[in-house]
Symmetry: C2
DNA sequence: ACCAATACGACACATCCATGCGGTTGATTG
DNA sequence: CAATCAACCGCATGGATGTGTCGTATTGGT
């Protein structure tokens, strides 16, 4: 929580958007909305980053396709110096890659540029209130990421036992067979036994391959 | 797209909820909403699964804490037989684990039980329309998952070279030193050389540990 | 011109791994 | 009760790995 927001009730929103028309339109919209103010707007992340520590915004409306530093990189940079600031993407990109890059970088919401003014104001309120505004289709993509990762790497019908998972986990920590045996209170030969079964089930022939595959499948 | 939904404009919503009062209240709400119908409701996943293939619902309102099979397991089961069906969670649980399990299992949205009737009806429309309705705080948790995974594992200042990354990648595919050498057109001993450097930089002493660590750091 | 970093190559050797074979025990399930 | 399965244990062996030490070549930077 920064000092400014304690002392006033308005939410400071700044804009990073290279298109001047859009930028000015947004500024007007924000300024005409009760509870919001727009103390500054920028046409590049570099400009924004130069001032962000004096302006201390509560929320940043961020474009992606910008001259110089991309909006994605801008998120990382600004959250490096102002970890509490909220970043709301407002862009034309609706492809998975951009969406996930932005969210991984720390954006708290993602809107597309044809969003109606009223919805945008509402979304800013949502973000400030602890939510993550997204368009319907983007929300579905985000949620869909989990159900696809739930399937993970189309597991070809193999199941691994708890014990085998433990063994793999120990191997991934760099333990040798005998160390794994000590850790799990079994003999080296039993470790071998389990690893044989793991290799057979996963159709691999080395520790590294087994560990890598297991990690991609979310087993360890 | 199932046959039924082609021939009528109403959305079939069924309910799985063990509390009779809530179940009946929801049924009334759905039936009184234009465009929605509620042909059936169940107090357990088992009951629902027995009829779902004849009822052919468009959407399922699903609780989690149920007698017998949990709602989470119910999602997996029902999507096994009806992959197109939408599942909207309606539960009291708001902890990360339940949320992510449900989404991984294939739920398309997640609401909590104190949701207002009007919002619930709206959410059903959103889900049918290709969205993923969630409460604000749950949306933030979902998005927060990405930003935390984006950080990966705090890297203790080490960098590996492109060549070293290639080597690790080959090892993770299960290739032996000589196979890696063949793949990258270098000798086995050079592979050894690179692996020595990798081990030194990462402070590990086995392939598995190196591969696991590299994957957690997003290097491969 | 020199230094540091990177990539490449070679030899040696103790240890570890992958895989073959053979077993026993207990719990679950048809 | 027989069958299955997970977990447990042992032994043998060729080949792979981890680590030591020694080189050369190229490249980018001060």
């Amino acid at each position: 929580m920064n000092k400014k927001s304690v002392h006033n009730t308005t939410t400071k929103v700044i804009i990073v958007e290279d298109n001047q028309t859009i930028r000015e339109g947004l500024t007007l919209l924000l300024e005409s909305s009760p509870g919001l103010e727009c103390p500054a707007s920028y046409e590049s992340c570099e400009d924004m980053l130069a001032e962000v520590e004096t302006v201390l915004p509560d929320l940043i409306l961020m474009d992606i396709g910008l001259p110089g530093m991309s909006g994605i990189e801008g998120i990382r940079k600004v959250r490096g110096v102002q970890p509490e600031v909220l970043v709301l993407m407002l862009t034309v990109y609706e492809d998975n890659e951009k969406i996930f890059e932005a969210l991984c970088a720390g954006a708290c919401g993602y809107l597309v540029k044809n969003t109606k003014p009223a919805r945008l104001i509402e979304a800013i309120g949502e973000a400030v209130g602890g939510g993550s505004p997204m368009t319907a289709s983007i929300a579905r993509k985000v949620v869909g990421f989990f159900s696809s990762s739930g399937k993970l790497e189309a597991v070809d019908d193999v199941k691994i036992t708890d014990r085998e998972r433990e063994i793999l986990s120990e191997l991934s920590k760099g333990n040798s067979y005998s160390q794994v045996g000590d850790a799990l209170f079994i003999s080296v030969d039993t470790v071998r036994y389990h690893i044989r079964n793991i290799y057979r089930k996963m159709q691999v022939h080395s520790q590294s391959e087994a560990v890598a595959k297991a990690m991609r499948r979310g087993w360890i």
